[in-house]
Symmetry: C2
Subunit: 245 residues, 2 copies
């Protein structure tokens, strides 16, 4: 719960026309990629990098939305709660993803670190000025939000219309794409999230998640070296299941 703030204004190693943030290894995916040297300097003046410990809350739903964040390293989950404790995880975020967009000045969801996480934090008021001056940043933000929206639509399809088996298959394929960038080979996935997180992401219970993974194992689709690692044995079959055919 105690973010270790590290000012970064003084680090101005980027004088080249094309610079990269240097705090992350995102390359062209980073928010700051493509900025000119002087723009990048101003960008650094607005940004503050913060380290967040595992399982600590970055902000809660309803909090005043003072900052916008991007994930530099690690993973973050977003969720919403019902009054009786039922939870819906709305997204798992990985390096390069934005979060903290607000409606009416309040965050629409809670954000929690799933492990040691490095974040880039932008005060909204300062960022708004910068967005006005550097149209490319605003374009990127709009593009990122649009992308998030498309993912949300995908997730609605999953939650509303897919079976438990299809949900888990979709989840594994998604992780495979996101963490390894490929859907071929037999990648070994490190699950940074608990069964409870997965269940709340897919609209299932932990028991159903566990049982379905066991079924996948028995079908030879995956192997599990341990509870937090999944090796995808038949990616193509899994993909077919995910798409509901």
């Amino acid at each position: 719960m105690v973010p270790l703030d590290t000012p970064v204004q003084e680090r101005e190693k980027a004088e080249a026309a094309q610079v990269s943030c240097g705090h992350c290894d995102l390359g062209a995916l980073a928010f700051c990629s493509g900025l000119k040297a002087d723009q990048f300097r101003r960008f650094l003046g607005v940004l503050r990098q913060t380290a967040v410990e595992a399982h600590s809350t970055v902000f809660r739903e309803g909090d005043q939305a003072l900052h916008l964040y991007t994930v530099a390293s690690g993973a973050v989950k977003l969720y919403k709660l019902l009054s009786d404790g039922r939870r819906q995880v709305t997204a798992f975020l990985f390096p390069g993803d934005f979060f903290g967009l607000s409606v009416n000045g309040a965050y629409a969801y809670t954000a929690e670190a799933m492990g040691q996480v490095m974040l880039c934090r932008f005060p909204r008021v300062k960022l708004d000025v910068l967005l006005g001056d550097i149209p490319m940043l605003e374009k990127k933000l709009l593009e990122a939000t649009t992308h998030e929206l498309a993912l949300a639509h995908e997730q609605m399809l999953l939650l509303g219309r897919k079976t438990a088996r299809e949900k888990l298959a979709t989840f594994l394929v998604m992780l495979m794409r996101r963490l390894t960038g490929r859907t071929d080979g037999t990648p070994l996935l490190a699950l940074t999230m608990s069964r409870s997180d997965i269940a709340d992401y897919l609209g299932l219970t932990i028991e159903t998640v566990s049982r379905t993974l066991t079924a996948f194992r028995k079908d030879g689709l995956i192997t599990c070296p341990d509870a937090n690692h999944v090796a995808i044995k038949l990616p193509d079959v899994l993909l077919r299941i995910a798409e509901g055919s």
Copy 2:
């Protein structure tokens, strides 16, 4: 399926500093509200108003995303399909709402008119130029997308964690807010969507939608003059059910 295009460039009745589009009665909610006279003239040059017949498809998921749309009047539904025909309605849109945002140049969902609809259509390439010149428009678009994203998160919570009863209650309260702007009194809602649309929006079957509405009727929460009209008798109780308590 045959949109009746009506060029509107010549209609330049707006010479005042603060103008409103004139094609809709949205006031401050309209995309064009707050534009200066010269900006508005350019805005009109980009825009094309189109009338769309009931049940016709504006565009399909995967189509090349050439246009961005706003609803001027009527209602539109967005949906995604699985290969075997299972459908998830991701949103019902009403006057003032945007749609047609794309990822990788393709629409992420299908858009269909639910009745006679008037749309404002913006070619993406022309709009992009205009957005670059009028930062306020880009801000509005970002805000609208952010708002849509928040609604999507709400819907994920509903789809993943709410019971049929809670889903229907949430749906009715949402319609009440959206169509009447209030949650008090005993408003009469005109349902522009079929049971099938409602079911596919809430992740249920038409039978469950029908049964749950009957249960609400028996509980005295609503009355139904006919199948397409619902009078909310106890809005506060419905709201409590919707929030899961």
